[in-house]
Amino acid sequence: MPSLSYLLSRLLQIVPTFLLVMVFIFLFVRLLPGDPAIAMAEAKASDQQLVEIRERLGLNEPLPVQFGYFVRNTLTGDLGRSILMKRPVIEVIMERLPVTIYLSLYAVALSVLVAAPLALLAATRANSATDVAIRGVFQVGLSMPVFYIGLVLLTVLGAKLRLFPVGGYGRTFFANLYHLALPALSIALYTSAILMRNLRASLVEVLDAEFVQFARAKGLPRRVVLSRHVLRNALVSAVTLLGLSIGNLMSGTLVTETVFAVPGVGRLMLEAIFARDYPLIQGLTLTFAVIVSLTFLATDLVQSWLDPRLRQA
């Protein structure tokens, strides 16, 4: 396990980064032309409501004081009221977030299932016809925007073959394995292309490493060499890559949730933008930033657990 001091120092590193993230989001609404209070209020807000918003955001105070209010409000979970939903932003986000997290994890699972076996196949037969074919197909996958992959799957598997529903969201865990199959697969086909490419490269490298040649030379069966030595080492780079591509994954959910009408935070972000619901846009942007930095943190921890050498650094 990672040591406590490593965990603490890693947590401390997040603080300045997050402060800067808060500055970005704070400046965001203040960069809008006009009065921020009007931007943060409903179209038909009364003067009384505007006064309340000014009070809550401290808009009459100097900027640094306003920033203090903003940090305080955010840390206490007060993200303001959504203009579109007429409810507290935090409530709306918490309601929709599980859908997006489910979709993301589903997509990660699928992309590992697609990429890992193919990467192993391609790496063990590097530069063969199989390798070239696999890489070629994934290269095309990398050139497809996620919304287009989604539309193709929707047309072929949803509308023509009627294998999966073309949109919506179910009620139970298992119902959603079926309901979210197409959106998850759309994201997975894109992320698996990135994963396959990097996994293959690191597998090729590991297969060539001295400790693997040694394991072979001492007569270990191929299976054991692959599972105990090769895969374990390739796992480190795969975890890192998956962690670092969380941003891609989130961008993917935003697009697929729109294509497949899935009620997650990604689609909510677009609804918020078209409705000019700035409190909601602000809250969602912050939510995405929190998700990404927590994932980065988790990646670091898993990585140092898998590869003790990294703890020294």
Partner: protein, 289 residues
């Protein structure tokens, strides 16, 4: 006694040596071919498009792909192939303008920060951490939300985020070059910092940046068409691939070609840029030669 005669070493310029290597790579040839063709179409779409992209043909509404309309027709009988070819103008422009300013700003900043280090470098490090904490698309559409939808605002939004990635890459390359002997020699000779950075270090550091630029142009087309599809990028009636795909969205059950055919252009162009980028990366890597 006879003198031994050695054949003179072939005198080839670096460029021709590079081209010699490049031309033997099918990936490079295919990639460059696709991009050259795309540029040609973008410059003269009228020369290639079989029909007027805006002409209604009420006798040929929502027809599937056929010999006379290879990509089919839309709800107004407009020829989809012609519309896709005209859209090359906007999409190729997107690949360039969404990346070139980020490239210039990022390279300059990265070079300065990498060379001088110190406080500026520390601040830059925190900035990079903060920017990569946002999903790229989320940050870009949040900025578009402030500026309003449209092509120019999309360029501004993408540049505002993207320059950081170029700067990070350039910074790393400059730091590696700075440690080399020739950089120390230039300092000993008393050259100005500006001359050392921009005349000596930068030309040697640009290789990986150019490769990244190629791949980034592919990403810009993916991103730009996604924004077009979502209604935040190019605005209809502008012919842009994402916008064309969005136009067919409601007919996907009955007339799939309206949406799916324009996507082929995205895939092909994206493939062209990434093939070019990848093979260029191979060529620039010393052991790949």
């Amino acid at each position: 006694m006879t003198t031994l005669e050695f054949p003179a070493p072939p005198q080839r310029s670096r460029l021709s040596a590079f081209l010699g290597l490049a031309l033997r790579r099918p990936a490079f040839l295919i990639g460059t071919g696709i991009i050259a063709a795309s540029l040609l179409i973008a410059l003269m779409p009228g020369l290639f498009a079989p029909y007027d992209p805006l002409a209604f043909d009420m006798g040929a509404i929502q027809q599937g792909p056929s010999l006379s309309h290879p990509f089919g027709t839309d709800g107004f009988g407009r020829d989809i192939l012609s519309r896709v070819l005209w859209a090359y103008r906007v999409d190729m422009q997107m690949a360039f303008f969404a990346t070139v300013f980020a490239l210039m700003i990022g390279v300059t900043t990265g070079a300065l920060v990498g060379y001088y280090g110190g406080i500026a470098d520390m601040i830059f490090g925190r900035l990079v951490d903060a920017v990569i904490t946002f999903p790229f698309l989320v940050l870009v559409i949040a900025i578009v939300a402030v500026l309003g939808p449209g092509l120019v605002n999309m360029y501004v939004a993408i540049t505002a985020v993207n320059w950081v990635y170029y700067a990070r890459l350039t910074r790393a390359e400059i730091m590696a070059q700075k440690a080399q002997d020739y950089a120390a020699a230039a300092r000993v000779l008393g050259y100005s910092d500006g001359r050392i950075i921009f005349r000596h270090l930068l030309p040697n550091a640009l290789g990986p940046v150019i490769v990244y630029w190629m791949t980034d142009m592919a990403l810009a087309i993916l991103l730009g068409s996604s924004l077009g599809y979502l209604g935040l990028g190019a605005q209809p009636p502008a012919a842009e691939w994402g916008v064309l795909i969005a136009e067919g969205r409601n007919f996907i059950m009955t007339a799939w070609w309206i949406s799916l055919m324009p996507g082929l252009a995205i895939v092909l162009t994206g493939l062209g840029f990434s093939l070019m980028g990848d093979s260029l990366a191979d060529l620039l890597r010393p052991k790949g030669r």
